[in-house]
């Protein structure tokens, strides 16, 4: 358990490592999905191609979109792209950097799916079995059949149990041929992807390294700023809620005292913290009324400033009383603008 926590902490500490971790997990999930998927070629002339190419191309598209969805930074990119400029200019190179790094990571799971599919060979065998060159690979002495018949026979190549064209072309010969082509395509695809990745990674320091460092710093900054802002707001909300509820209980207690017209029972001086926490509510009836009031009539989201024992009503600010009307004038102006 500790081991997992340490690995988890290592990935979390560096944001890029965390995203690489997700990317690796998706690639593994993609191979697992492929091996768990039960491939069933329809063995019919026109359906084979659709089924085979569909299994080859549709799941990678889904995995690509999933790669974007699972990436937390997509909302950050969208927000930064759409925000009004305000007091802070927008840098398109930062947006480009964020988009490129997300797209690169999202491409890995689809590329793994396509490679595994091609190297396994079932999809290509299913899709292209009707295009096998019967003249070169088939038996020389095969019966003359119409084109449609040949297509129907060839379409059954992936389904060994129902294949009935051994005189036309041996099943193993056709399957081996198609598999060889599929694996060659698979290895070429992997080589192409790896070469592209290598070029992208190694050409960057040769051209625009300074711009890259700048974009990377500011994209990390935007992410950290967003997280810190959320944390600050959460802290603020907590304090707000605490003071609001405290004021609610105090308000309840004051109301009840006023309603019952009896002197509040003063807690003995040495009762300490516990008496303070009771907030003036000390019996069942009062508590029930407080709970009912909380449900029926929640207090407004407006915290009253704490009352001070000063005579002139200006609590704490120390503003000189010589301009008592100035704030009023300002407020009037403000409201009229609104």
């Amino acid at each position: 358990m500790d081991k997992f926590r340490m690995i988890f902490q290592f990935f979390q500490s560096n944001q890029e490592s965390f995203m690489n971790g997700i990317c690796g997990i998706m690639a593994l999930a993609s191979t697992q999905m492929y091996s768990a998927f039960d491939f069933n070629c329809p063995c019919l002339p026109h359906y084979n191609m659709v089924y085979g190419l569909g299994i080859l191309l549709v799941p990678p598209f889904i995995l690509f979109l999933l790669g974007f969805v699972l990436n937390n930074n997509i909302s950050m990119l969208a927000e930064e792209w759409r925000r009004p400029q305000g007091g802070r200019g927008k840098d398109p190179s930062v947006l480009r950097y964020m988009f490129c790094s997300m797209a690169q990571r999202a491409m890995i799971a689809p590329a793994v799916w396509v490679s595994v599919t091609l190297l396994d060979g079932k999809c290509i065998t299913c899709a292209f079995c009707t295009s096998v060159p019967v003249d070169t690979l088939g038996n020389a002495s095969h019966p003359r059949l119409s084109q449609g018949e040949i297509q129907r026979v060839l379409a059954r190549i992936p389904c060994r149990e129902i294949y009935n064209g051994q005189q036309l072309i041996a099943n193993e010969v056709a399957v081996r041929y198609l598999r060889c082509i599929s694996q060659a395509l698979g290895w070429c695809f992997v080589l192409l992807m790896t070469t592209l990745a290598f070029l992208v990674r190694s050409l960057r320091p040769c051209f625009s390294q300074a711009a890259f460092l700048k974009s990377r710093y500011w994209s990390h900054y935007i992410d950290i700023e967003r997280k810190l802002f959320d944390e600050t707001c959460a802290e603020h909300a907590r304090s707000f809620a605490k003071v609001c509820i405290q004021q609610f209980f105090e308000g309840m207690s004051t109301d009840l005292v006023a309603a019952r017209c009896h002197l509040p029972r003063k807690a003995p001086a040495d009762a300490g913290e516990a008496a303070e926490k009771l907030l003036g509510i000390t019996d069942q009836g009062t508590m029930n009324m407080a709970l009912k009031s909380w449900h029926r009539c929640k207090p407004p989201l407006h915290l009253h400033p704490p009352a001070l024992p000063t005579g002139n009503g200006w609590a704490g600010e120390g503003q000189p009383p010589t301009h008592p009307s100035a704030p009023r004038r300002e407020t009037a102006a403000y409201y009229s603008c609104v």
């Binding site: 009004p84 060979g121 060659a184 290895w187 320091p205 003071v243 407004p300 704490g316 403000y334």
Partner: protein
């Protein structure tokens, strides 16, 4: 658990150890890839050679490129090579040292693949079954030239109907496998002797330069890591200051425009501090709206604190 953590920390502490770790992982991955790959020779005269040699040489190229991509030091080396000189001179010996260490580590996985392929034998049997001399094998000796090519091409496929019980097929297969394994073991022996000599003879030539190059290449790597960590730390502090300034400027704006009694009391700590003067729903909404519509400028110098 402690042991695992110690191993993990050991690898992390030294960047060379990290690279050795990656190199070992790639070699293991290469063996795993080979065993899970379903080798199926096409058994056709023109395709065999292409398939067999392709499987023997294409994946090593891919593994070599992967070894270069996954190695962090290759980026560091490229940056050092391409950077403008500025106030720090470039030392070509350091760059050469880094390049050679990167290439050596990247070569391990491809070599493992090639050796495993040769020792297993399937690739060579597939590629060269059509090139054996048919006269040496009884079953193929008296067959016409065209047909013998077809038959020899089918030797790697044990389950083919023509080859199922053919003893000459087994003879050709054994012969080719023997050649393949001999080649595999020879390559392994030559490489290990070369590595042994390189490691033993290196101290005899220019040890001082080597020590310098190694020290400075480690230094460049560590310097880059520390720079990135410092930038991360800096952006965190920058963001913190920026947000505090934003709340403060919001508080001041609200104080200027609102009529509500001010909140501040001297010497009060705790919740009021965290509230930062924002004490009602409208103020909170205004703050959030302003955060979206008008993000504050990226400037936390003293001039902007008012």
């Amino acid at each position: 658990m402690d042991r695992f953590r110690m191993i993990f920390q050991y690898f992390q502490s030294n960047s060379e150890s990290v690279m050795n770790g990656i190199c070992g992982l790639l070699a293991l991955a290469s063996v795993k890839m080979y065993t899970s790959f379903d080798f199926s020779c096409p058994c056709l005269p023109e395709y065999n050679v292409a398939y067999g040699l392709g499987i023997m040489f294409l994946p090593p190229i891919i593994l070599f490129l992967c070894g270069l991509i996954l190695n962090r030091q290759s980026l560091v080396m490229l940056e050092e090579w391409r950077r403008p000189e500025g106030r720090r001179k470039k030392d070509l010996a350091v760059i050469r040292y880094m390049c050679s260490s990167i290439v050596q580590r990247a070569m391990v996985a491809p070599v493992v693949w090639i050796v495993v392929t040769l020792l297993d034998g399937k690739c060579l049997i597939c590629a060269f079954s059509g090139s054996v001399d048919p006269q040496k094998f009884v079953g193929f000796a008296n067959v016409s030239t065209v047909q013998v090519q077809q038959l020899l091409a089918k030797v790697p496929c044990k389950d083919d109907e023509l080859m199922r019980n053919n003893t000459s097929r087994k003879a050709v297969s054994r012969y080719l496998r023997c050649c393949s394994q001999a080649l595999g073991w020879s390559i392994l022996l030559i490489l290990i002797i070369a590595a042994f000599l390189a490691r033993w003879l290196r101290p005899c030539f220019d040890q001082a330069t080597l020590l310098q190059a190694r020290h400075w290449s480690n230094y460049i790597d560590i310097e880059q890591k520390v720079f990135e960590e410092t930038c991360c730390e800096h952006s965190r502090l920058f963001a913190h200051k920026c947000i505090l300034h934003f709340f403060e400027s919001m508080r001041q704006e609200i104080k200027r425009h609102s009529f509500s009694l001010p909140w501040e009391r001297e010497g009060v700590e705790g919740e009021e501090d965290l509230l930062r003067g924002i004490t009602d729903q409208d103020q909170v909404n205004k703050l959030l709206k302003t955060w979206y519509y008008e993000k504050p400028p990226l400037d936390v110098s003293q001039a902007h604190q008012r």
